[in-house]
Symmetry: C2
Subunit: 574 residues, 2 copies
């Protein structure tokens, strides 16, 4: 490809409304152009990248035995009424009326359509398992589309749906998809994590999200650097400390805390680590007061708390309820001296293992220090995991300690079970000739979203740093004086032809712009490697080479350049 | 590909509502499944074919210098209001309201979107010419969707739009697209014609349609077998006969035609060829009566007639108007003895060259025979082309005589001019720095429609006869007893691997069905070549080969089979 035959449209500035770096860079690099709110045209350069992502996704889906088909984007309402989603999916679903005033929708997802196909086409267990997928334009009517392709209304998605006779067959395909997704993101050159939506064990879980890691990601992820463990921070299990509760060394005493109503302030006043403090959260459930104890530096996880027997519908106690029970305002509450016949004390696992801790004294302006379980108050009524994990916590899989990072969800695999097959009546005959409702899995990848996520992960002050696998070009040849200098032109053309023949995805920047302009453009759009051909260099028999990730260019002998670059590119290929 | 890993879903019967043979066969072969009216899922087998068509289209568009991008399917109404099409496009356009009650449409075509892009991105004549294209799912809300993918509501289309500073630049790209389209249909292995929508000369015309030829086609086409000339029958020029008007040989005389009011009946009664008769059609325009004369076996072409000076808004004369002028009822009208000061006589070119003809006598129950121009009535006031061409007419390009055929429109290239660029204000600066409205061309191909059209062109009592280029597979290997007979299995597997390595798109039918079932399926779905591996054949060292177009199978030596089939397949490749 030559730049002159391509439609390059870069700019120095991004529109003010672009918030995310990927959105800004995609507009500046001319990968996309805005048509309307959440609607983008993929420009030739952007489409190259999108197609590279799509090709890897397709190859790995095929390799994993999935079969591609293509369903209509416009879906009759009846199917969604049958599944019950027509009313409950909400305004994200774009409803349509045709000329006969019949209801349709622009499919945001295709469970109903594929299940309808399955109930018509699948007759026997012999046809199972089967896994269908498509790569298709979807529409979700986001209330506030933003972040460019990361939350566009129209987007490209790969969605797959598998059908099974047994749970174990679903488990097997689920594992196959987990492996295929991992291979996809590896081949794309992205740092990613498969994040368990609940237990974290592959196959034992009902759902995994695949996240591209990036500081700007919307989701906080807890992961173990020494294993595959990863989970949403809200879902990751907080284990008890590895060490047992220490013995008491201090005596219990009240300390003056005239204005200190938070653990942070108390710790600062007393000159002790925040980890020595305990906060009390009073909650009401079934008209009974419960006390939740969390270490001062930890945060309550309400989802976990709600899973405790009797706390399913808990709410935070009001100031009045607190004063009525503790005879003390919030900010000075503690677990010592409570009437345990009416108040249940639930301690987080960490708190249950603490000794000599500091908590509220249940007296205004006082806290209590040197508190110890058993000695100063009875053991907790219940010890449970009720907090969010933090960096350094032991990994639930026992293989190290947790780190925290942020991620962008780009894939999701999910055990659907029989939700749709039951609603639509999709059955097959089993070996005994008995009709059995098929069991389903579904597997999505946000193809266009991956492009944005890759840029969130890879960028610097010069622009986009794509992994080579999805860079718009593997190599840019930038001749200085292509139009003026026959020697430069011949050398650049020869090199270009050599690279094309070697199967390298190469662009020749034949625009004859100023060097600075050409360098900046090739860097902005994220071309992975660059060779500069100049008159001065040729005189010395040298070209200038720079990988997009290199800080500086280096000189290489003209005679070795082709082989050198080809080797570097091949080494990066997956 | 092995059939067992593929999702083959054939049936013996097609639903009664399928009228066209392509619709029936696509359903029977399981290429598509109906989701709703005009909405089809492309099944794995059908999608293979669709993708092959798409790939050829894309390759040839790229080769022709067009640049691919991808525009949103959902388009804000404002753009179509700006062009004026929001109100006039009609109910085929699917209108949509988003959650904020803003108007959108599901784009049936993308002139507005690309012109909006052009006005934002094109600044200088130096960026021209440029030709953008996309391959995209479109929606047209057909009032009565039918014929399967031939007139579906949702369909896959390739649409291209070019931008130019000058008409001659548009002409050049138009010619390039004409050539690219021709190459596309040639490579797809289809019999086709580029049909002029008006004059028929490439470049001199504003529009060409590309038709796949098939007896069931909706459009009648006149073409010259000895040249590239082709036009819609309604558009093809009817030339004057090659021979001059013969001299008069008969005397003019009235003949009794008591009940004969049509040329057919008169010719039958008199025992003369229909070609000796002339019919008179009385039309009114600007309150003046005009007489149109057409040979008895020809048909009036109203579009051509309306192009004659003074006839732009003509209508057929009423019985009352006819009686008032001719003093004779319709069925016996003729051009002899008319008051030429009030009645204009317009003769078709053919009629003007006739001698000794028969026409109405302007007396009830009489016709006049032996009529001759000049002698019996004045020469026509105007001689013009006002009829539809018929088979055997001289070709307008002077290169032979016309044939007639029927076609299915699958492509359309069109000189748009400045309709959209003016409406949306898309200008560039020319060499003098002056803003100039860009000139546009547009070029469409119905990608999914091609699959249906190919089947209309190629089918027999056994099913689909695809050209090899778009057959779902180039070769089927059908082993008899694959599951039971180790020798058959080994031979089939070895052959399969050999073919895969040779780059042949091959399917191995490993279903172990009865031979009849497997043969019928492979024929129904249109696999181009077939090799049968059987125990008996192997004993004799032979396989059975049959091309889909062969009437019978033939035996070939097992040792030569791979090379033989490979050679046949390569010979068919484009």
């Amino acid at each position: 490809m030559r730049t002159s035959r391509f439609f390059l449209s870069t700019s120095k500035e991004a529109p003010a409304e672009a918030e995310l770096v990927s959105h800004k860079l995609m507009l500046r690099a001319g990968l996309i152009k805005r048509l309307g709110s959440g609607l983008y045209t993929w420009m030739p350069l952007g489409l190259r990248i999108l197609r590279k992502v799509e090709a890897v996704v397709r190859e790995e889906m095929n390799r994993a035995g999935a079969i591609e088909l293509l369903m209509p984007a416009v879906i009759p309402a009846e199917l969604w009424q049958e599944s019950g989603r027509w009313e409950v999916f909400g305004p994200q679903m774009l409803k349509i009326k045709d000329r006969h005033q019949r209801d349709f929708l622009f499919g945001p997802t295709h469970e109903e359509v594929i299940t309808d196909l399955a109930r018509k086409e699948l007759k026997s267990y012999k046809q199972l398992p089967v896994n269908f997928y498509q790569v298709q334009t979807k529409f979700r009517d986001e209330i506030r589309p933003r972040f460019g392709v990361m939350r566009a209304r129209e987007f490209l998605m790969k969605d797959a749906y598998s059908f099974h006779l047994t749970e174990s067959s679903l488990d097997e395909t689920y594992r196959t998809m987990h492996a295929a997704y991992s291979r996809i993101f590896e081949r794309l050159g992205l740092k990613f994590r498969a994040v368990a939506a609940d237990t974290g064990a592959i196959g034992g879980s009902g759902s995994h999200e695949f996240h591209v890691l990036a500081d700007s990601g919307e989701d906080a992820i807890a992961f173990c650097p020494d294993s595959d463990y990863a989970a949403n921070v809200e879902m990751a299990e907080g284990l008890a400390p590895n060490t047992a509760r220490p013995a008491a060394t201090e005596t219990m005493r009240d300390v003056d805390t005239p204005k200190q109503t938070t653990c942070e302030d108390v710790a600062a006043l007393l000159g002790i680590p925040l980890q020595k403090t305990v906060k009390l959260i009073a909650v009401m459930a079934a008209d009974k007061l419960n006390v939740l104890l969390i270490r001062g530096d930890h945060n309550l996880n309400e989802v976990k708390a709600a899973k405790i027997d009797g706390l399913a519908d808990f709410r935070f106690a009001t100031d009045e309820e607190i004063r009525a029970t503790f005879n003390c305002p919030p900010g000075f509450l503690g677990p010592v001296g409570l009437d345990r016949s009416t108040i249940r004390v639930i301690a987080d696992r960490t708190v249950a293992a603490m000794a000599d801790f500091v908590c509220g004294a249940n007296k205004p302006k006082f806290h209590t220090a040197g508190v110890n379980w058993g000695r100063d108050l009875p053991e907790p009524d219940l010890v449970a995991d009720i907090r969010n994990v933090v960096e350094g916590d032991p990994s639930p899989d026992g293989k190290g300690s947790l780190g925290l990072c942020r991620g962008i969800e780009v894939g999701h695999i999910f055990k659907l079970g029989t939700k749709y097959s039951e609603a639509l009546g999709a059955t097959v005959l089993d070996e005994q000739g008995k009709a059995r409702t098929v069991i389903m899995g579904c597997y999505g990848i946000g193809v266009s979203r991956i492009v944005g996520a890759a840029i969130e992960q890879g960028n610097d002050e010069r622009g986009i740093v794509f992994p080579q696998a999805i860079a718009p070009f593997e190599l840019a040849i930038v001749p200085l004086g292509y139009g003026r200098n026959a020697q430069v032109r011949e050398a650049a053309d020869a090199l270009y032809n050599q690279m094309v023949e070697a199967g390298v995805d190469v662009v020749l920047d034949d625009r004859d712009e100023r060097p600075g302009v050409m360098f900046a453009d090739m860097e902005l759009i994220g071309v992975a490697h660059r060779l500069v051909v100049s008159e001065r260099g040729l005189k010395e028999g040298q070209l200038e080479y720079q990988a997009r990730t290199d800080a500086q260019a280096s000189k290489i002998a003209q005679a070795d350049a082709a082989a050198y670059v080809k080797e570097r590119i091949e080494a990066c290929r997956s």
